[in-house]
């Protein structure tokens, strides 16, 4: 266990000053997610344009440093991507948190990969993995427009 790996500068900074913590005007997709064990919740808003590109993405909610940083980094990276690219990034991130040692996607710049890899510290803290993945699962639900509320305990 290593607290320094978990609470890296980038995480603390994004946790304190989350990017895109607001509600997208004219959003056309959204979903809510919650973690019933701790009461954390997140609401992700998306604006997909006619070319299936993420014109804007934002989130509202409250949570720990890990969950806020994860949502913040996620929205930063997904903005401007096509829906297929977004799906690839989501799969890559969830795969890395679950089992893969590295990110595989070629869509992301090295800088962005470094940011995402900062979240890999949660791998050593099984109880905190859900904090890092909640906003990502909620984004999937928003993109699929399935109207389901995401819960970490389903």
């Amino acid at each position: 266990m290593n607290l320094k790996e978990l609470y890296q500068e980038i995480i603390l900074e994004h946790g304190k000053n989350p990017r895109n913590l607001r509600k997208t005007e004219n959003f056309n997709k959204d979903a809510k997610g919650n973690n019933p064990l701790c009461g954390d919740n997140v609401h992700v808003y998306l604006k997909l344009n006619n070319q299936r590109k993420v014109e804007d993405i934002s989130f509202e909610g409250s949570g720990c440093a890990i969950s806020m940083a994860s949502a913040s980094i996620m929205t930063d990276l997904i903005k401007g991507k096509s829906d297929n690219e977004a799906k690839e990034i989501i799969d890559d991130f969830l795969g890395m948190i679950k089992e893969n040692p590295e990110l595989k996607s070629t869509i992301l710049e090295e800088d962005d990969k470094t940011k995402l890899m900062c979240l890999s510290g949660v791998k050593q803290y099984p109880m905190r993995v859900k904090c890092a993945t909640l906003s990502w699962h909620t984004l999937i639900s928003a993109m699929e427009d399935d109207g389901k509320q995401v819960s970490t305990e389903d």
């Binding site: 607290l3 609470y7 701790c38 009461g39 919740n41 409250s62 720990c64 440093a65 905190r128």
Partner: protein
Amino acid sequence: MNIDNIKKEFPIFDEKIQNNDLVYLDSANSSQKPKVVIDRINEFYTKEFSNVGRSIHYLAVAATNLYENTRSSVQKYINAKDKNEIVFTKGATEALNLVANTLGQKYLNEGDEILLTELEHHSNYVPWHYLRKSKNIKINFAEINEEGEIPIENIEKKITPKTKVIAINHLSNVTGAILPIKEITELAHAKDIIVVVDGCQGAPHLKLDVQDLDCDFYAISCHKMYGPTGLGILYGKKKWLEELPPYQGGGGMIKEVKKDRITYGDLPNKYEAGTMATAQVIAFDKSIKFLESIGIENIIKHEKELIEYGQEILKKNNSVKIIGNPKNKGGVISFTIEGVHPHDIATILDEDGVAIRAGHHCCQILHDKLEIPASARASVGVYNTKSDFDQLNESINKCKKIFDLK
């Protein structure tokens, strides 16, 4: 028994937890177990095991006697009038579900009201919520005051001619407020209202006398009382347990089963369907003996000193905000740190071997009222010492350092 040496009775404190001495401040969640209780479970399974109340062979009779012996010990410990007023359940949650379900079946009607408080644990709300759906029953909540207490006036205010049940906790698992159960019962009974007490936090920390409290039901969680998991107790006044229908059906709870009719067993069998948590019940006798050997007065005094010390030290720490300030308080200190989410606090404290709880502690109603998503909670048991709070404070300072707080 010397309270300073009590920690030695608990083998877990000989263990290193991630290379640290364990500072266990999560007893409101579940207490650690003394060696006598752990050994008793082992001994029963090793030398004395049999199911109870059925077969007539030697082991079965001996096990049944041990099982019933715990019932008598519980009766004595909580000063119930009758041994048959003690029902074993799989936990306090099941005990509360039993009461809500059976009152719903026989006693409550559409439009009746149940009064809870904003301090209730989900297990003393969700079972009543079912009746909202199935019987169209209304639930009201008595409000907390500024100090995180429920003054009796706040209960009185919410009683209407339709109030049939008041279901309240004895000691809040978040603010630590001790509720004036005896006064509430007097008030309620004058209006023919049943009083159900969630005693999960009351039973480990307070002197219990159900006849003095005069409540109709009292639910106990054994694993919070230095006992095994998988076991709870429902105390119910005999008149109610006799009048209400059974909760679950199965073996052991019947008198006679025919193709066209079934008659149910007498108390307490009527409420103990199926094979019970036999080893846990038998080992729980050792938990009671353990509590008796220390003496509840000594426990109350010890824990009061701990909580006062903990509050004093945390109040001096900038950025720590303690939740609630009840005059009559026991067992727990819940707090927040401005700028650090409780989950981050818990993870950082854990690195030093300090075990606390973070979250809403199954009290979302209360956290909504306080307008916070979660809180951190340090709770005590007989084995805690003032140095545990020193370590808590030190680890909180580490937390503040990581998050760059002054």
